[in-house]
Symmetry: D2
Subunit: 308 residues, 4 copies
């Protein structure tokens, strides 16, 4: 049996990120090998003009990746986003003038509360920025015509919000402009969800959780080839893959996560598991990279900069 040799990384002159990825590819084992495989799949998705779904879990927007996700949409890398509610809340907080701050995993959370800071990992949000967000969202909801509010889907809600955001760095704004849908099946489980509930106490508001499925189904079934970029697992991962049972599975996919398979959750499952359900095609190209998204995804994305 012919086996491929491991090539050692070659320390040399000034390095580009793309060159580093190429060296990982030549080494070909452990994390470097996995990441290189993910990069190849990403390039292949772009080359084939696949319909790409981006799945976002964890506080990725607050933690520094906001502009990268906005840029992916701007460049047409992705056809749809599926996200937890939190990432869009953080996008809005920044669009409305708030910021996120550097904290610590090891501090006293009681002191943070007194300081008026909420913690997500070691990123911080000011409670005051969250309150400003709540007020703005209340006004946005009030500005949506009541007949729309009688049967609103999460995707429509984010489109309405995106249309009302001025900040050009906002993911919601860019997605609105580019016509890229943002799905969020668990959006009620977020600070936005709480605001929706409070608004619904006095005003007409029905958030129809199943309404988006038709649109998602149309995108999935209309795709010539289909790919998934899964950052962090959770509901977004499951929603993207589950919808793909309607077409026999994704053709391409990679995920970056710290979760592992042995606990049995879908978050930690290798993408290959999807082949037993028709969530991934038998012949699909798949990669799993174990690691931190804030380090590894920028590395991949910058390595794509010379891609088509």
């Amino acid at each position: 049996m012919k086996r491929r040799r491991i090539s050692h990384l070659a320390p040399g002159g000034g390095r580009s990120v793309a060159a580093l990825l190429e060296e990982y590819r030549k080494a070909g084992v452990l994390g470097a090998g996995d990441l290189a495989k993910a990069a190849e799949i990403y390039r292949e998705m772009l080359r084939r003009r696949a319909t790409v779904f981006l799945g976002l879990s964890g506080p990725l927007v607050a933690s520094g990746l906001r502009s990268i996700f906005a840029e992916m949409i701007r460049r047409g890398h992705v056809s749809a986003v599926v996200t937890n509610g939190g990432n869009m809340v953080h996008d809005m907080i920044e669009a409305f003038g708030g910021r996120h701050y550097v904290g610590s995993f090891r501090g006293d959370d009681r002191a943070l509360m007194r300081e008026g800071m909420g913690r997500m990992g070691n990123a911080l949000t000011r409670h005051a920025d969250l309150e400003a967000f709540e007020k703005r969202v209340g006004r946005i909801l009030a500005s949506i015509p009541e007949d729309k509010r009688r049967n609103l889907s999460p995707r429509e809600l984010f489109q309405e919000i995106g249309a009302r955001i001025k900040d050009e760095r906002s993911i919601l704004r860019v997605a609105y402009e580019k016509g890229v849908p943002i799905f969020s099946p668990a959006v009620v489980d977020s600070a936005l969800g709480l605001e929706l509930y409070l608004f619904s106490q006095g005003e007409t508001l029905v958030l129809n959780a199943i309404k988006d499925m038709r649109e998602l189904a149309e995108i999935v079934m209309g795709a010539e080839s289909s790919g998934a970029i899964i950052l962090g697992g959770g509901v977004p991962k499951h929603y993207i893959l589950g919808a793909h049972t309607l077409r026999g599975g994704i053709d391409y996919g990679f995920q970056i996560t710290m979760d592992r398979e042995e606990a049995g959750s879908l978050s930690g499952a290798r993408l290959e598991e999807g082949r037993s359900w028709g969530k991934a095609k038998a012949g699909s190209r798949l990669a799993t990279v174990i690691g931190d998204v804030t380090v590894l995804f920028p590395l991949l994305f910058y390595g794509m900069e010379d891609a088509p």
Copy 2:
């Protein structure tokens, strides 16, 4: 400073699970110490008759814990359940005559597909059982009066289903009988969600994702003291903790998970993080146990059997 001594576990005669937990407590460090602390908090919740929320993520029902969860509800350990959709789908599959099977993490998922088996970790579901589930769910949905279907919440949906299940081992059945609400904010992201969508193509069906929040809020705000048992993270964890901002946080809580904090996701966050948000009280008693739920939670639960 007075420090507590570590007592060595004492191998002896026939051991009960409760005695083993007591030995972990006397040792007091590493996983044994964490698990013993969780057991103390669990006992304390029961003793104080706290309003306890059970959060379920991962394929726990399929993987052998179905009867334990049903029994917890039967005994009045929990006042509300918050779950991913999947665990209730698996409860229904078994209620409708299906079963789950032992598979492997290392097999060929293409061969499983040909065999008609879907994989979740190393548990398997027969595609045929899933199809039987889909048919039964369709009939159940059709039997719900149309005016209810015009604005149904996930909690109401599960109550309607529970009322129509005969299997007395079913979590949904027991919860229905005991009047324990089952919340599932991301239920659309499951095989049940797909079925809801298909049904809604021909029949009236609106699943109002924000409707449950009022009821959840009432339970949270009406609680004298409040506790959380979080098995596996994900949306259920966030939903339980998020709702508790309405009362300044939980009083007691423990979680068992394989996720860690460094990736920043809420799934891996220590419960102490909640103190910076009013999701956990400043004086709350909290424990995090890193480990496999299918091993550790039965150990805790059996250790509670002589509890009040």
Copy 3:
């Protein structure tokens, strides 16, 4: 294909640890399934009177497992121990009157230093107990005849120490009495190693690292069947498995660890990897359990109490 059904754990009356293990076996998936498989292998090793090697890494003795390991030796469960130096240092500290204490992962290590406490995970050692250990070890070394000290192996060193310990709970004492060898190829990398170095500055002392290999080889090659209990990975795991290339590999083995394979280290490797090297036989029975040794190993050991 016939598939085994997952049986749900059955909450019932007063439970023994052995009964819980049996319930894990009937469930058969995720961590519960892995642990049950390890228990079966452990029972099989005992039933077949296999030559069993116990590998110890991490601060297991300080963290509460000292008496369990001593009891395993007393009962004849193990034919040889391979350990890091630290676990034997902690055994000696307690044999010489010291204790270990409950600390925290989250404290201030500078304050611990001022308090005179050293931290290992969340277990603590008093610096004063370590100094007492150093003095006693110095006297023990001086009492070993100089001609032995000219070419001493780690196994011989531990035998000499064990012969001089009075504490009947001591692992070193019990191993000496039962004639069970304790190997420790990296013993110089420990507080004992530092003491050996200091002693060697003024007195004759050569610690011959390769001398033990002959004895280990004889045990390995003389075994009718051979098994490994690997708690925590590291050098002990590698040393046990490496020696087994001399006989084509172990027949039985299980490991409990928090390490995973994807980083490529032997600590995280599944035991199956050993089959590619002749460290495990092609037909060997092997199990890997991901989890905390301080919880899972007592569970297994207590479940063995009615074993032959």
Copy 4:
């Protein structure tokens, strides 16, 4: 309290690795923040001309990092290396004409055995290359004067081997040329250790495990300031930190590992733990990065290329 803002990574033109590290620094949270902190500490070590100890665990040399480690020594980044035996075995295998190959975590290890391949993670070694290594090592040992072999330390052994290697890409060769000592307290636990044992059956050979400690102590105590680069934990980590109790601890240090602290092993411990032992100074600058060394360390090293 003044808090630092998180800056979002800014997708732009052609990126260098150094620029990416700078963007991680501006983001400042999660893995990106940890890696940026490690990079700052690395730069600071070089700027202060600290005495730097490089600790190597896991199959890093086989997996593609051989040339990077050799280059670090060539450039004077490190004053001493502490390694498991395996990494030097792999360096020798390649120096003697062998190679390493790309395998899979998911293959059949029995088939690999038949193919004559041994697996380490998903890197492979040909058994034939290992046998060639054994023969060459035997000849090298025989060429070492017998009086030296009567009391040889691991450091001296590696120096003797390095002096006999022609391959200029070899770590052992470069270390020999630059006079950088290579320590390996657990070297007997490796394929080299097995060879030492076999040689010692017929010839004079004593490997004195404590002899190196004096030299290591002199380097540690002679350092104006001292730093540690710990890749992967294990014995090398402990040996470097333990030796530093002789001078009150390291001044700088970072580690990259997939191990976590909760299992209590030193491999997973944060470097701060060392402050309770005098292994790290109270005022030391320390960083822990959770992740794969084969991805993260090249990223750091290439980012240093414009450093002094």
